[in-house]
């Protein structure tokens, strides 16, 4: 019996990657998709050889056991609550929410309905990060003193640059992955955050540059560059890096360093051809197995998603008030 999964909205570009993972997974079936953009639903159903449902309600009334939500950020909460009410397990694209109260409502809805709510943090599955975690836990660098992370990218455009739909700009788009890795690596909560933001890259009514400074509950400090600062000619979409500074040494992780440099005369540009493991697939694979009844191992829970997004939300307030502020629990 294959695990039956549906996708709610293709607003987020990661939906295509997850659809591909589901189509190639031996024990998963992409039953269908629904989207508030009906045309997009039709086009994506054609592309992924699956069924387009007329409405989210119709998708949730079908035989699907679980859904992946890839809508605009502000729609995560209502869609997750609908899916929970229909008794479907949920994997929700990041950031989990754009307001703390929405995240709380999502967690409560999933708990009330007895369904799983997971957050799409594929970086957790990166073999480079997993090995970093093992090295750190083995005591290789001694006492942890500081962390330095980056998750820079190019501007995705579209609704990502409309704060009414995304909840902000670069900061909310690119804070949560590394915030989650820091929590997972250290087992510590991020309790305080400061941020500087700017818009000199695109001069829009949203932040395209974001530099966060964070303090963990044990006093370890960290910074994170969450800017959309990669130029159009940059050879790839961006990066995820994390350095851990310890009393006995340092570990530096560059998650997408496993690439070839491709000098592409046809496209008249240089690109990176990534050859590392597909972390989206590793994440979707565990989601499928958990829906089938296996225990969770690496998947980020709804609570994990909440904690990481709460760092971004506190960072926006800190940037506004010009002072470090606590992260809301």
């Amino acid at each position: 019996m294959k695990v039956k999964v549906g996708i709610m909205s293709f607003a987020h570009l990661h939906a295509d990657s997850y659809a591909h993972c589901l189509k190639t997974h031996p024990s998963a079936e992409l039953v269908g998709i629904a989207d508030h953009d009906k045309q997009r639903a039709q086009a994506k159903a054609l592309q992924w050889e699956t069924q387009a449902f007329d409405s989210y309600e119709a998708l949730l009334a079908s035989e699907v056991q679980a859904v992946i939500i890839c809508s605009e950020n502000v729609r995560h909460a209502p869609l997750a609550q609908m899916a929970a009410a229909a008794g479907k397990h949920i994997l929700c694209e990041k950031p989990l929410m754009t307001r703390e109260e929405d995240g709380k409502a999502m967690l409560a809805a999933a708990q009330g309905a007895g369904v799983h709510l997971f957050t799409a943090f594929p970086c957790r599955f990166s073999p480079a990060f997993q090995q970093m975690r093992q090295l750190y836990e083995s005591g290789a660098i001694g006492e942890l003193l500081a962390l330095r992370g980056t998750n820079r990218g190019s501007n995705p455009g579209g609704w990502f640059t409309d704060p009414a739909q995304s909840g902000g700009g670069a900061l909310i788009d690119h804070t949560v992955h590394v915030a989650d890795l820091i929590r997972l690596l250290t087992g510590q909560e991020i309790t305080e955050v400061y941020a500087e933001t700017g818009n000199n890259m695109f001069h829009g009514a949203y932040d395209d540059t974001a530099m966060l400074s964070m303090t963990l509950q044990n006093g370890v400090f960290a910074t994170l560059d969450a800017s959309w600062s990669r130029p159009k000619t940059f050879p790839t979409w961006g990066d995820v890096t994390l350095a851990a500074v310890g009393a006995r040494g340092i570990i530096e992780m560059d998650m997408f360093a496993q690439h070839l440099v491709h000098y592409d005369d046809r496209a008249e540009r240089i690109r990176q051809a990534f050859w590392g493991d597909n972390i989206d697939y590793l994440m979707v694979d565990e989601f499928v197995r958990v829906v089938a009844g296996e225990p969770r191992q690496t998947l980020a829970t709804g609570e994990d998603g909440y904690r990481a997004a709460a760092v971004a939300l506190a960072a926006y307030r800190a940037a506004e008030y010009g002072m470090p502020l606590p992260v809301r629990e």
């Binding site: 003193l145 400061y194 500087e196 890259m201 400090f221 800017s227 600062s229």
Partner: protein, 325 residues
């Protein structure tokens, strides 16, 4: 012949001596170090005269080059300026803002040639980046990240480990990056910093500094005396029309790797060969300015502003607050 005197004969004193030796129009008229044995050894090695005391050095030369530890800069700079000597002073300008102010006032009062030795401005990679940014090649600057450091610097007296003397990684090390940023991007509005400096970990210091510039750009500096892999620098500057990046571990023109005698591990030494090294270019520029009456590229106010920014970052790291300039 221009007569130069060097005070402070440690690592930087030697570095500067090597540069002056390549200038046929420069005579090292005197050297001085309050460690008399070190002064004697230096004098013998380079065949230059040792001054009996600092006054004797001041009398013997036209240019005074101060290469002492930071906390003693003012003590040597002020009498030199007051004696009307041209002064080139190692970075940071001084350990405290009060000392910096005294130096600035003295330079203004006596109208003497003065240059804080922010040698980074003469490193060709940093100079090229400054030129490109200022030419507008990257458009409006949105973000700049700089990284500097390696393992903890060790000296006989271990003065780097004494925060009161060195100012730690924020004042001593990333003053270079502060100066480059001020030179390239202009004034800073506010700074927020985290550091290990006040945890008093033996021979470990590290900082992550966030800056907001008046022009709206956001900056980040990592300064480390915690990295056992050796000294490394990198930077990237992102603008609305492009980006520059430099990484000293990647852009390496020459590398030599040798096997140890016993066959066990070797040492790799990366090199950046150039016709003239940055210390030569820096000191040549100052000597030329003294001879021609031109104002040096790096002013005493630049030295003051870099220290002011570094001390603001230290204050932020110490108090946990954002410090506005």
């Amino acid at each position: 012949m221009v007569k130069v005197g060097i005070v402070g004969l440690g690592t930087m004193g030697r570095q500067h001596m090597d540069a002056y030796r390549q200038m046929p129009d420069v005579e090292i008229a005197a050297v001085y170090d309050h460690h008399t044995d070190r002064a004697a050894a230096f004098a013998q090695e380079y065949d230059v005269p040792v001054a009996d005391d600092y006054d004797a050095l001041l009398k013997a030369c036209e240019i005074v080059d101060i290469c002492t530890p930071t906390y003693r800069h003012a003590e040597y700079a002020l009498p030199a300026i007051e004696a009307g000597r041209a002064v080139v002073c190692e970075k940071p300008l001084a350990r405290t803002l009060e000392d910096c102010e005294r130096i600035v006032q003295a330079v203004r009062q006596h109208n003497t040639p003065f240059m804080p030795a922010h040698v980074l401005r003469f490193f060709p990679e940093y100079r090229a980046a400054n030129r490109l940014v200022k030419s507008g090649a990257l458009g409006a600057i949105a973000a700049v990240r700089m990284r500097r450091g390696g393992d903890f610097p060790r000296t006989k007296s271990d003065w780097y480990a004494d925060f009161e003397k060195s100012g730690g990684v924020i004042l001593d090390l990333i003053i270079h990056d502060f100066d480059w940023m001020l030179w390239t991007l202009g004034a800073v509005e506010r700074v927020y910093a985290k550091a290990l400096t006040f945890r008093n970990l033996r021979h470990l210091d590290y900082t992550l500094v966030t800056l907001k510039f008046k022009n709206g750009a956001v900056g980040h500096i990592e300064g480390t005396w915690c990295d056992p892999s050796g000294f490394k620098v990198n930077f990237e500057v992102c603008g609305d029309s492009g980006m520059l990046e430099y990484d000293s571990t990647r852009q390496v023109a020459l590398q030599i790797a040798t096997r140890a005698e016993n066959g066990a591990g070797g040492v790799q030494v990366p090199e950046s060969p150039a016709v003239q090294n940055p210390y030569y270019l820096e000191l040549r520029h100052f000597v030329d300015c003294v001879q021609s009456g031109q104002t040096p590229e790096i002013t005493v106010e630049d030295g003051y502003n870099a220290v002011r920014l570094a001390l603001a970052a230290i204050e932020s790291a110490q108090t946990g607050r954002v410090v506005r300039l």
